[in-house]
């Protein structure tokens, strides 16, 4: 047994992300690790990669205790990690990237300096192993994604790894390039290297691996040999429990169209996106990370430009759009990145909550602020969102928990009285209780006459809240489901399984 994990647990604050994981890995074995976003895959791999230590439990490598305190320590023990976002320095050459952790040195009159000759020879050797015939002195920025991936693997091989972890390695590769990567993986397997392969692309997983491990909500729900799985059973295990009663019902009285988007195209991000949203309707957008959903709503809100197509808001063609205009029109946008784009972390709760609606509380030529009114209104909304806080004007928003921070951002947008609320991953990284409260707020808003466009990577959430789910892939809309057609396996299959077919 090469690698063994015993009852590994990991918590961030009060949130338990891994709830006791036990599994083992043999030499030359490829393990496919699958699970929905937030199931705990990345956390587990970060533990193995030495990014942070587990809260409880033991790890063994070759029978010895394995507890790396840094990525470099993990690498020297023989665990290499190929990240989803490649960790190469584009401004350096291939050879420099390969040896960035440890340059071979030679001494010249006692002064140590980098041994360029050895680097070149060794670099060629490593590149040969992954089937790259390139000048090692070429800058990485000149390479396209596929060779970059190979360079990354070559870099990992340089440290003589026993285990290589791949995190979504094919997302930026073409079909043909992915095939070549799989050949390489099989070759490495023959050399006795064990691999953990993380992917959303279930077809690839089935093609490549020996065993499949399925994570759900921080638990390893099933680990078995490949032959006992097919796509349907994998999807079923990934999604798991019935959760529909978790979502409060809502009075249905969908009205006429408020937003019509036609052939919206932003080069390199989205192509020919056409859909509409009706009054008091909740429309969900599902797809893989990078499918263009966030990019699409950023264009809608006026943060990014579009090249062609049209946006009609309440019967009027919009030719100019920016956040200021959007807020005036009654469109609000809760972004995915709470810290970077949603909060002013070093300011108090009041200032955060009032920011977007400040115009409502000012009067006169100098835009004098009515502090009393602002405070009362914020108090009202913060109360409605059930945020737990101590003091509105003294407490910094950064001292709140993730869920409460998100509620403050939501309160900020509710204060603008939006007619269309755009939500990008509104429940990402927050606990179940806060999630349920946010669902309640969304339903309330819709019952009071607003519409909601919601992006989420949690399909259950969309199925529970939405009247319609639109699936995006590679910047295009690939399918649309009405509430009566909601069937999680079908939707998942369109988003995951058909991914390769669309290519």
């Amino acid at each position: 047994m090469l690698l063994q994990l015993k009852n590994i647990k990991k918590s961030f604050g009060k949130v338990e992300v891994l709830k006791g994981i036990t599994f083992s890995l043999d030499e030359g074995m490829i393990l496919g690790l699958i699970g929905e976003n937030g199931a705990g895959k990345s956390t587990m791999m970060n533990l193995l990669g030495g990014i942070f230590p587990p809260t409880a439990g033991e790890m063994f490598l070759n029978g010895e205790t394995y507890l790396p305190n840094s990525p470099i320590a993990a690498q020297s023990k023989g665990v290499a990690f190929i990240h989803q976002e490649l960790n190469l320095f584009p401004n350096l050459s291939i050879a420099e990237n390969l040896f960035i952790n440890q340059f071979p040195k030679k001494r010249f009159f006692g002064v140590s300096r980098i041994d360029k000759k050895t680097i070149n020879v060794k670099a060629k050797e490593l590149l040969g192993q992954v089937g790259l015939t390139m000048d090692p002195n070429k800058k990485v920025e000149e390479l396209s994604p596929a060779p970059r991936q190979l360079v990354e693997i070559a870099k990992a091989l340089g440290a003589n790894p026993k285990i290589i972890i791949f995190d979504e390695p094919t997302t930026s590769l073409s079909h043909h390039e992915a095939k070549k990567l799989f050949e390489l993986i099989k070759k490495l397997k023959a050399q006795g290297i064990a691999m953990i392969y993380i992917s959303h692309n279930l077809d690839d997983v089935l093609k490549l691996v020996d065993s499949v491990a399925i994570l759900r909500d921080g638990e390893l729900v099933r680990m078995d040999e490949k032959k006992s799985f097919d796509i349907q059973t994998m999807v079923k295990e990934m999604v798991g429990r019935e959760m529909l009663e978790f979502f409060p019902g809502r009075m249905k009285k969908i009205g006429k169209k408020v937003l019509e988007v036609e052939n919206l195209t932003a080069k390199g991000f989205i192509k020919d996106v056409t859909f509409h949203i009706k009054k008091q309707e909740v429309v969900g957008f599902y797809g893989l990370v990078g499918a263009g959903r966030s990019e699409m709503v950023r264009v809608l809100y006026g943060l990014d430009r579009f090249d062609s197509g049209s946006i009609v808001w309440k019967g009027e063609l919009i030719d100019k759009t920016n956040p200021v205009l959007s807020i005036q029109r009654g469109i609000a946008f809760l972004t995915e990145d709470r810290i970077e784009e949603g909060l002013l972390t070093r300011m108090n709760i009041q200032k955060n909550a009032q920011l977007a609606a400040l115009g409502h509380f000012t009067k006169g030529l100098l835009h004098r602020i009515n502090r009393f009114e602002a405070k009362e209104k914020v108090k009202e909304k913060v109360y409605a969102t059930k945020t737990k806080y101590e003091n509105l004007t003294e407490q910094l928003v950064s001292t709140l928990s993730g869920g409460n921070q998100q509620k403050i951002v939501l309160a900020k947008w509710l204060l603008t009285d939006p007619e269309l609320l755009i939500l990008d991953e509104p429940t990402k990284g927050i606990d179940i209780g806060a999630k349920r409260e946010i669902y309640g707020l969304i339903n309330n808003l819709v019952e009071n006459g607003s519409s909601v466009l919601m992006i989420s990577s949690e399909l259950e959430e969309l199925m529970g809240l939405c009247d319609r789910i639109i699936v995006m892939s590679k910047g295009k809309i690939t399918a649309s489901f009405d509430k009566s057609q909601f069937e999680r396996n079908t939707i998942l299959e369109v988003a995951l399984h058909k991914q390769t077919a669309i290519l």
Binding site: E340, E341, L344, R346, L355
Partner: protein, 323 residues
């Protein structure tokens, strides 16, 4: 009671600066002869006012996560414009007060214009504030000297050069001007939409933009305000020295930035108050004045002031939890 009022007025963490300031004042009053005299107190006040006014403008820029190194050149540039407008050339304009109003208006306009150039370069063209204002500092300092061929303009109208010694309602005019500037700056920052927008832009311009804040114009206005403040300070300097000089204010940059930093305005933008900068400026002026009275050389004073400001910057980071 006094403490709680002070707490309300100043917030909490920044009390240390006030205490240090008061303590320093008493120690100097006891141990440095000549510090605690009426003459020196006036001296302190008149040195403080123009510096404070420039520092208040700087506070606005730094709140927006920028920096304006060109303030000294704005002081110089507006000083020669004022000197030119007030000199014999405009003698035909009657009465004299109209001449003065016209000249002061020209000074303010010049300050605002340089601020506009800074602001547009930073906000619209996206250049780093440090680079832009370092360049405009050189540009306008050079222009001021080149335009005047390094000549000062004297011959300013009597009623203008008497301004520092004139009183209105028993308050010396410079003090009145200082109080008005502090008052306006405080009001704008604490009671208006702009006062909410500026720190939000400084703290996180992405969040601000998404929340409907007009980020670019907010930033541009902060530089315009800074330019106007420097122009007002230049009026005080020009009147007191009775000359329009192209090297006016060339040594005050460290004191200006020092006042803001010692006051406690964040080096990363988003957090800062007018009243903090007032305290910072008071401290810098006291430090400068007391060291002078102790008979230290200019260079030694520079060294000490530099160290104190560096320490203040470190405390600033400590407060933000950067260590």
């Amino acid at each position: 009671m006094i403490e709680s009022t002070a707490n309300k007025l100043l917030g909490k963490s920044e009390n240390t600066t006030v205490y240090v300031c008061v303590l320093y004042y008493f120690i100097m009053a006891i141990f440095v002869p000549g510090f605690f005299t009426i003459h020196n107190s006036w001296n302190l006040l008149f040195n403080l006012l123009p510096l404070l006014i420039v520092a208040i403008g700087q506070t606005y820029v730094m709140l927006g996560a920028g920096i304006d190194l060109s303030v000294t050149s704005i002081v110089a540039m507006t000083s020669i414009i004022g000197g030119y407008c007030l000199s014999d050339i405009t003698a035909f304009i009657e009465p004299v007060w109209l001449r003065i109003v016209f000249s002061l208006g020209a000074m303010l306009l010049t300050g605002a214009l340089i601020g506009l150039i800074n602001g547009v370069s930073v906000a619209k063209l996206g250049m780093p504030a440090f680079m832009v204002t370092l360049t405009t500092m050189m540009l306008f300092s050079g222009t001021a000297i080149w335009l005047t061929r390094s000549q000062n303009s004297y011959m300013l109208p009597e009623s203008f050069v008497n301004m520092p010694y004139t009183s209105l309602w028993f308050i010396p005019l410079p003090l009145l001007i200082g109080l008005v500037v502090v008052g306006i700056a405080y009001f704008l920052l604490n009671n208006t939409l702009y006062g909410e927008w500026l720190p939000s832009v400084g703290m996180n311009s992405k969040t601000a933009a998404i929340s409907g804040v007009k980020v670019q114009s907010t930033t541009i206005w902060s530089y315009i305000i800074c330019g106007c403040c420097a122009a007002v300070a230049s009026i005080l300097y020009t009147a007191r020295l009775e000359t329009g000089s192209p090297v006016m204010g060339q040594h005050i940059l460290l004191d200006v930035i020092g006042s803001v930093v010692i006051g406690g305005t964040s080096l990363f933008g988003g957090v800062g108050k007018i009243q903090w900068t007032v305290i910072g400026a008071v401290f810098i002026i006291m430090l400068d004045n007391s060291l002078n009275l102790m008979g230290m050389s200019y260079f030694l004073i520079m060294i000490i002031k530099g160290l104190v400001i560096l320490l203040a910057a470190m405390m600033n980071l400590l407060k933000e939890g950067k260590y």
